[in-house]
């Protein structure tokens, strides 16, 4: 239901902490897979003709969850940087206002990409070197 890692780049691998870590990642993935079978409707019509409305509903549930999890991940990271005093609260607010204005200006492009699905993933940020 969710991709293996936040940064979609194989070299920033999930298993860098050794096998133990990738085993726990697999356990989480297995759990999610079991849950997915319960709550998504995709397999409801196994053997019957596909229902594109149900497929779209499932796709949306996944996309929405991924977006929410990404928001929470970014939020946690930024809060941690404030706690570590890498950036103070006032600087953060300034940066937040500035980036909000910037992204609000780009809203049309974000919407357009939702329609065209041309770029898969975020348009205005990237953490690749």
């Amino acid at each position: 239901m969710l991709p293996d890692s936040f940064i979609s780049k194989p070299s920033v691998s999930v298993g860098y902490g050794g096998t133990e870590k990738s085993i726990s990642t697999n356990t989480v993935n297995d759990k999610l897979l079991v849950l997915e079978k319960k709550i998504l409707s995709g397999r409801h019509y196994a053997g019957q003709s596909r229902n594109r409305l149900l497929e779209e509903t499932d796709r949306h549930i996944k996309a929405r969850l991924l977006c929410a999890i990404r928001i929470e991940t970014l939020h946690n990271m930024i809060v941690e940087l404030v706690n570590d005093e890498v950036i103070n609260q006032q600087q953060l607010q300034e940066l937040l206002n500035e980036r909000t204005d910037f992204i609000i200006d780009k809203q049309q492009a974000i919407w357009l990409n939702q329609l065209t699905q041309e770029i898969n993933g975020p348009l205005y940020y990237s953490f690749k070197g």
């Binding site: 936040f6 759990k31 991940t73 974000i110």
Partner: protein
């Protein structure tokens, strides 16, 4: 408004559950299991309602699909905008402190894995998204 109140109630409830559960790990596991089974039940109910609704659709399936896609994109749009803002903020912090890039990438990944594991334990985010009451953390 009703949604908001329900959300507040949920939030208070989940805070109570959290504060109770912090007392011991055993309680924590039990609560997770309880939350998970409740959330699974609610999400299955939503799924079945969707199946009933979407398979009884007598109109042209193409136009129903177009409508559904349109609604879903509108539903997702504000969250995508929020994600882009937070992402852009973090990217800017990294630009200012390039030395932290590697460290931030690693910690970002750890947060992601933790939140994903929590979701696999409880499905809480999936549930509140389906109920339309997910608010997300605010900076």
């Amino acid at each position: 408004m009703v949604r908001y109140i329900t959300h507040l109630k949920d939030k208070i409830m989940s805070n109570i559950i959290k504060s109770i559960s912090s007392e011991s790990n055993i309680d924590d596991n039990k609560n997770s299991e309880f939350t998970l089974s409740e959330n699974i039940a609610a999400l299955i109910e939503i799924k079945n309602a969707n199946i009933t609704r979407l398979t009884q659709e007598t109109t042209d399936i193409t136009s129903a699909l177009v409508n559904l896609k349109w609604m879903n994109r509108q539903d997702l749009h504000p969250w995508l905008v929020k994600e882009e803002i937070y992402g852009a903020v973090l990217a800017e912090i990294i630009t200012r402190y390039p030395g932290l890039q590697h460290n931030i990438s690693e910690r970002l990944e750890q947060h992601y894995q933790r939140i994903k594991a929590e979701e696999a334990e409880t499905l809480s985010i999936t549930r509140s998204l389906a109920d339309g009451c997910w608010q997300g953390s605010i900076l």
